[in-house]
Amino acid sequence: MLAYLIRRLFAAAVMLVVIVMVVFCIFFLVPKWAGVDIATSFVGKQADPAAVEAVRQKLGLGDPIYAQVWEFFKGIFVGRTYSGGGDVTQCSAPCFGYSFRSEQAVWPVLTDRFPVTLGLALGAAVLWLILGVAAGVLSALKRGSFWDRGAMVVALAGVSLPIYFTGMLSLAIFVFGLKLFDGQYVPLEESFTGWFGGMILPWITLAFLYAAMYARITRATMLEILGEDYIRTARAKGLKEQTVIGKHAMRSTMTPILTMLGMDLGALIGGAILTETTFSLPGLGQAVLNGIKTQDLPIILGVTLITSVAVLVANLVVDVLYAVIDPRVRLS
């Protein structure tokens, strides 16, 4: 088990380095081909060459890519000192650099926005797991029934609707039409009920999409497993149907669901870009979208790194749970 964990951790760390390098390349090499100078875009088009040169030196933009990646990683763990033209800025660890646009440090921006996205992702995940898995299992057990058909029609509609459209519809109906919620994000520290009221529509909208996906997958997996020999054996032994389904069939059904959950939750914690844009939630997704639109590399790097860590951690947790559920995994 320990060897398995170490192997997974090592793979995750490698993946992280690769992701940061890829992001660096996207934002440094592509503008270079296109003939855009990052230092110029930082200072502004009309700036004098001396100022541009100072920025380039201070941010180390003239260094080779690998040196810049190294400085970036070093900054996260031990902090970083920017100096150029007699102008020195000390950025203490964890240093993710400064925004090109607002000149704020990136780390506080990340820590401010992380709880919003985390709350959104976790709340929605609880909802969609309960709804999706329950609907899928019921549909599989009552295959061909009215319930099964109804649930699958709703699920198919759910996966065919873009989340920003369902989000806007729910805003129009519940916030503008029925005035049930006021549709404003309120930080959790200020008021729990305000936060809850502001989050409930994003939760339901997000959960609807994922519950639809999970219901379809759960149903398909459950149906396949119900046809397996060991289920027939369990029934032949005279086990109660409850035990056959609840203990034997559910265990195998949960493995693919768990994989999906790990990936989806990881990706969402790193920024539910579409949901946050639709409901104007000040989360990581909104931050990265703004960063991309204004070519604010440090913000993008910071959020990408957090997203990647979230995806990797979620996958790691899933891998460990996998090994607990299915001992064969540990050996392969």
Partner: protein, 335 residues
């Protein structure tokens, strides 16, 4: 051969009779039917899938004929109709977002462009990106998947690592990042052309591991089958085995994954345009219309409903058709 056995039951009940007739008909015809024929016969019986398929064909026709249809109703997607806009609120003056005989689906807020015409032109972008990015993914996925499965060894481990890595990537984030840093001129294309081209490549690139994984798995298992062994022992070369023995058997899973990938790609394109990194105005796209509608969801809800429903119908039709194709090509499914 089993047909006579079923004849007595044919009188029992109408439904049973039908079933028996079907079974006996199938049993008689079993010899010499190709996979494609079996699949087509199953698909013909699946009403939902057929409906989806017909809607898809209609959508393709509408997209191809967009200029003709808009001419026919006398509308131009880029023409402003500011006389139909309330100058105070910027919303259309007529009821239901300005729906009228001239403007079948109403007009946009502020500038009053005809929504019907813009929806038709938006269909072109959606379908173009949806189809072509799926093709990019299929080509990459098939080539790399077959290479990994067929050659094994270090080729397999290298390709598999890349696939795992891409699947674990925060994809939407990278697609947005890549599309947004692309320059406005590329390979002789400008503006919308570059955007569409880049979207097709990037969406296709992030889609190939899904097909690659399936193709690799299939190739791995097919490679060890007796008939491949037989071909090999008869002295068939690697290329012969690859193209004559393996690829024909990979067609079914590839078709299934392609049809299932198109709706996802259409949704991704819409999402990119919604976020403002996809197609740039004045070219119209459904996602972009929805992004404009976000500011008017309370005062002009029709502006949001029309493109939303357009996306919904398109994706639903592809999903229904894709599910039908999957069931029809599934060797385990009942005939």
């Amino acid at each position: 051969m089993t047909a006579p056995l079923h004849e007595p039951t044919a009188e029992a009940a109408p439904s049973a009779a039908e079933e028996a007739a079907l079974i006996s008909a199938d049993a008689k015809a079993v010899q010499g039917r190709s996979l494609g024929r079996i699949a087509w016969e199953r698909l013909k019986r699946d009403k939902l899938a057929l409906t989806g398929g017909i809607v898809v064909l209609l959508l393709i026709a509408v997209a191809l004929l967009a200029p003709v249809i808009t001419n026919l109703v006398g509308q131009d997607p880029d023409a402003y109709h500011e006389d139909l806009i309330d100058p105070l609120f910027g919303t259309p003056t007529g009821s239901l977002g300005g729906i009228s005989g001239d403007h079948l689906l109403g007009v946009e807020p502020v500038n009053g462009r005809d929504i019907f015409a813009r929806i038709l032109y938006g269909a072109r972008i959606s379908l173009l990106v949806g189809f072509l990015s799926a093709i990019v993914a299929v080509i990459l996925g098939t080539i790399l998947g077959v290479l990994a499965g067929f050659f094994g060894g270090w080729v397999d481990s290298a390709i598999s690592r890349v696939m795992d890595g891409l699947l674990a990537f925060p994809q939407l984030l990278f697609i947005i990042a890549l599309v947004s840093v692309m320059p406005n001129e590329l390979l002789g294309l400008t503006g919308t052309g570059v955007r569409v081209f880049v979207m097709i490549l990037v969406i296709g690139f992030f889609g190939w591991p899904y097909i690659g994984r399936v193709v690799r798995g299939q190739t791995l298992s097919l490679r060890e089958r007796e008939y491949v062994e037989a071909a090999r022992s008869l002295g068939a070369g690697r290329l012969y085995i690859l193209f004559k023995e393996l690829l024909p058997n990979l067609v079914a899973p590839i078709i299934v994954y392609t049809t299932m990938m198109i709706p996802t790609n259409i949704l991704t394109e819409a999402a990119l345009s919604f976020l403002g990194v996809g197609v740039k105005p004045p070219t119209s796209s459904w996602g972009q219309m929805l992004s404009g509608a976000l500011d008017y969801y309370d005062s002009d809800p029709m502006y949001m409903v029309v493109p939303g429903v357009a996306i919904f119908i398109t994706v639903l039709a592809f999903n229904l058709f894709g599910d039908g194709v999957r069931d029809a090509l599934d060797p385990k499914g009942s005939r």
